[in-house]
Each structure stands twice: as structure tokens, then as C-alpha cells.
């Protein structure tokens, strides 16, 4: 379910930087939540200037006016402070690895109920309701 779309200027990040950011996002997300690492999806989309992108977990659009933007989507039900910690962690890691000032990166995370998503052939459990069996069945990263 964790789905992070990184909007970046064309040719701004190397493959190694993108991969390092994807690993860092996985570390941040899984260090705070109970999600299996293999569930963290990170996609980089090259865009120019400011604009908006459709919300992956809500009905509207996310507007951005920084060169780099993280459009996140997670399971609903986490405490707002937890959600804030995840976003802060992502922003910090992105800025550090991309080598850009913090002011050049912004982001937002929207949420949707877990039961609205099927992953690896199963409806997702709500945060905090993940069983040991569910973790065991979670697919390895690929």
C-alpha cells in the first residue's frame, strides 16, 4: 500500500540516487509502521515546474510549487503524529540524498482505508491488525 511518487525535474537524479532514495523511503516507512518492506512502492516521475498530480488515495489533486515533490499514499488509521514522522523522514532523506536544500522539497501523504486495496491477492489489514500469518505471506521484495 505505501505508494510514494516522487516528482523530479528531468535528468535531475541518477539511477543510484533514485535507488538510494527508494531504499531510504523503505527504511523510513518500515521503521515507523508495520508494513513489510516489499510493500513499499516508490516511483519517480519527471516533470517541469509547478503543477498538480492526481491524489492516488483521495478524490482530488495534490498541488506543488517546489521543484521536488513527494506524493504519498498510505493506509488510513494511523495517528497524525505517526503520519507526520513518516513524511518528515521522507523529506529529510530525499533532500540529503538528492543533494538539494530542504526548501526545494515538499510533500503530502493522503490515506485510504486498507480494506479498499488488494495486494498479493489479499485484502489489506488495517494498521495495527496485521497478523503474523499476514507478515509471513508478504512477498519478498522484487
Amino acid at each position: 500500500m505505501p505508494f510514494y511518487r516522487c516528482l523530479i525535474p528531468p535528468d535531475s537524479l541518477s539511477y543510484e540516487q533514485r535507488r538510494e532514495i527508494a531504499v531510504a523511503f523503505t527504511d523510513v516507512h518500515c521503521g515507523i509502521s508495520a508494513a513489510p518492506r516489499s510493500f513499499v512502492q516508490v516511483v519517480f516521475l519527471e516533470v517541469s515546474g509547478s503543477g498538480e498530480i492526481a491524489d492516488s488515495h483521495g478524490s482530488g489533486a495534490m498541488r506543488y510549487d517546489t521543484p521536488y515533490f513527494i506524493a504519498g499514499g498510505n493506509r488510513a488509521g494511523r495517528h497524525p503524529q505517526v503520519k507526520r514522522r513518516i513524511l518528515d523522514g521522507l523529506l529529510e532523506k530525499f533532500s540529503e540524498i538528492a543533494g538539494v536544500p530542504a526548501s526545494a522539497v515538499s510533500g503530502r501523504i493522503s490515506e485510504a482505508p486498507a480494506s479498499w486495496t488488494m495486494e498479493a491477492g489479499r485484502i489489506l489489514p488495517e494498521p495495527g491488525e496485521e497478523s503474523a500469518e499476514w507478515h509471513a505471506r508478504a512477498a519478498p521484495a522484487a
Binding site: S38, V42, E111, A120
Partner: protein, 110 residues
């Protein structure tokens, strides 16, 4: 009105398959939600090779995310998700862990 945005990884779901996948999405929505739920539109986003990751590794996963009319029961939504997942895997040959399907209420603000 129903709309789906499919994010696929370059080289994993060829353009040749996309019309069939769009038809399958429309058929699943019509079968489970009823034809009166409105027209179905399907759009595509392709992550270039080296631009999509899962668990920090290059990804082969497709994300099929849709918006459907509000008020769907849990049971009906579950049937829709299963129908979409089955169709996607049958057409693409993807493994179960290579497709994520979701259907959220149109009125859900996120």
C-alpha cells in the same frame, strides 16, 4: 463515473495488452457494480526503467487504482477487487505479488 489509473513498469505491460486490460476493467466494474454505475475510463502511467522500485529494488509491480461511486459495501468492493486482480493476472501473466488493486470512493478526500 468510474476511473482507473494504472501505473505500470516499462517493459512489464506492453501497449498491446492495454486495450484488453481496459476492457477487462470495464467488464469487471459492470458485472460487480452494475452498468448504471456509469462509464469507465482507464488511463496509464508508465514508470521508465530504473524509475520504479519496490522495497528498494527494481519493481515489476503494476498499481491499478480506481475511483468508484460512494456507498459500496465491503463485500461488493471485495468482489470487485478480486475480479480486477484475476483479470489483470490472466491477461498479463503477472504473479499475485506483481499487482496491487484498489477501488476508493469517489467522495473520499484522502
Amino acid at each position: 463515473m468510474i476511473d482507473f489509473e494504472c501505473t505500470v513498469q516499462e517493459g512489464c505491460v506492453g501497449e498491446r495488452l492495454r486495450p484488453r486490460l481496459a476492457q477487462a476493467i470495464e467488464a469487471a466494474c459492470s458485472e460487480v457494480l452494475g452498468a448504471e454505475s456509469g462509464p469507465v475510463s482507464v488511463s496509464w502511467v508508465e514508470a521508465r526503467k530504473g524509475f520504479g522500485f519496490r522495497g528498494g529494488e527494481p519493481s515489476t509491480t503494476s498499481l491499478v487504482r480506481g475511483r468508484i461511486p460512494d456507498g459500496c459495501s465491503r463485500e461488493t468492493r471485495g468482489r470487485l477487487l478480486h475480479a480486477l486482480e484475476r483479470s489483470w493476472r490472466r491477461i498479463t501473466g503477472a504473479a499475485a505479488d506483481e499487482v496491487i488493486v484498489s477501488a476508493r470512493d469517489r467522495g473520499w478526500t484522502g
